[in-house]
Amino acid sequence: MSNVTTASSTEAKWWGGGKSPFNVEYGKVMMWYFLMSDAFTFGAFLISYGTVRFSTNGWPDPNEVFRSFPFAPEGVHAPLVFVSVMTFILIVSSVTMVLAVHAGKNMDKNGVVRNMIWTIIGGIAFLSCQAWEWNHLFHEGAWWGQNPFLNADGTASSTNFTNFFFTITGFHGFHVLSGVVINIIMLIMTLTDKFEQRGHYLMIEKAGLYWHFVDLVWVFVFTCFYLL
C-alpha cells in the first residue's frame, strides 16, 4: 500500500528500466518465488498422499487416531479438539506477524519487538503441541513403517497412513522450526537497531511472508489429515 503513491505517477512505464517492474524489493520477489517452489514441494507430498489413499480400499479413521488430548485421562475420546487448538495457535501467530510487519512499516520498533515476541511464542507453542502429538502416537506404536491403527471398516491397514502422516507433518514442523529461528534472528536484529540504521524493516516483511506460508501449508495439512 505504501507503494501506491509511486505507482500512480509512472503507471505506464513499469518496464522502462531504472526500477523494479514489480515495484517490490528484489529480496521480496525472490522470497515469493522460493515460496512458490516450496508450495510445489508440499503440493507433491499432499498429492502423492491423495493418490495412495485413492488407490487403497480402506484407510484409518482420523477421528479414531487423533482422539487424545494432553493431561486428559487415558482412553479419552476427543477427536479434532487438540488439532483445533494447534490450528488456532498458528492463526493467532500469523495475525501477530501481520501486526509486526505493519509496525515495521511505521518504523515502530517497540511494536515490532512486541509482536515478534508473540509470534515466536506462538511458533514454539505449535512445535510443543506437535512434539506432544508425535510422542503420543509413537507410544501407541505408530511410526514410519509401523501402523497400529486399523482401517475405518475394521480391516488390516498398511503403513501408508503413518508414513505419510509423519513425513508431511514432519516436513511442515521443520518449516515451523526454521520459521521460529528466522523470527528469533529478526527479533535480535530489531533489538540491536539493525533496521533502524537501514531505515526500513523490509526484512520483517520477508520473514513475515515465510511465516504466513507456514500457516498456509498447515491449512492444507490440517484439512487433508485430520478432516477428510
Binding site: F22, S55, L80, I91, M107, Q146, P148, G208
Partner: protein, 146 residues
C-alpha cells in the same frame, strides 16, 4: 519505500487485519463443525458432500491468507500473475494423479484377488502395539508383490 502511514491509512490497515482474522476464525470453526458432524456418519453421499465443502472452505482460507496476510492482493498485477499462474498446474496435478490412484485401485480390485480379499477380512483390534505382527504383514505384502 520506508514511507510511514498516516493515521487514516493505519486505521484502514488495522481494520483489514481484524476483518481477515475474524473471517479465518469463522471458516476454521465451520470446518471443525462439519468435521464433528461427519463423525460416525454412515451416509456416504452426504459425507462426500461435506468433504467437498471442507475443501472449498480450505481454498477460501488459503485465499485470505495469501491475499491479505501475505499482501499479494495489493501488489502489482504482473507479480500476482507470475506467482498464481504457475500454481494453476495444481489443477491438472490433482485431476491426473487422483484419477490415476483411483484407476489403480480398480485395476487391483479386478485383477488382484489377494488385494480384494484383504479389504473384506475384518481383523481384531490390537490391544497393545505389537511390532511383530506389523512385520508379518510386511512379509506377506512382499510375497504378494512377487
Amino acid at each position: 519505500m520506508a514511507h510511514t502511514h498516516t493515521a487514516e491509512e493505519n486505521k484502514a490497515v488495522i481494520a483489514e487485519i481484524k476483518k481477515v482474522t475474524i473471517i479465518l476464525s469463522v471458516l476454521t470453526i465451520v470446518e471443525l463443525i462439519l468435521g464433528f458432524w461427519m463423525i460416525g456418519m454412515d451416509n456416504a453421499g452426504l459425507k462426500l458432500a461435506i468433504k467437498g465443502s471442507i475443501v472449498i472452505l480450505m481454498m477460501a482460507k488459503a485465499f485470505y491468507i495469501v491475499a491479505y496476510f501475505m499482501h499479494l492482493k495489493h501488489e502489482l498485477k504482473n507479480l500476482i500473475m507470475t506467482i498464481v499462474v504457475p500454481l494453476a498446474l495444481f489443477i491438472w496435478f490433482i485431476c491426473a494423479f487422483l484419477s490415476d490412484g483411483n484407476s489403480f485401485r480398480n485395476l487391483r480390485n479386478t485383477y488382484n484377488p489377494y488385494f480384494k480379499e484383504q479389504s473384506t477380512i475384518k481383523v481384531e483390534k490390537k490391544a497393545s502395539p505389537n511390532h511383530e505382527s506389523t512385520e508379518g504383514a510386511h512379509d506377506e505384502k512382499a510375497h504378494e508383490q512377487k
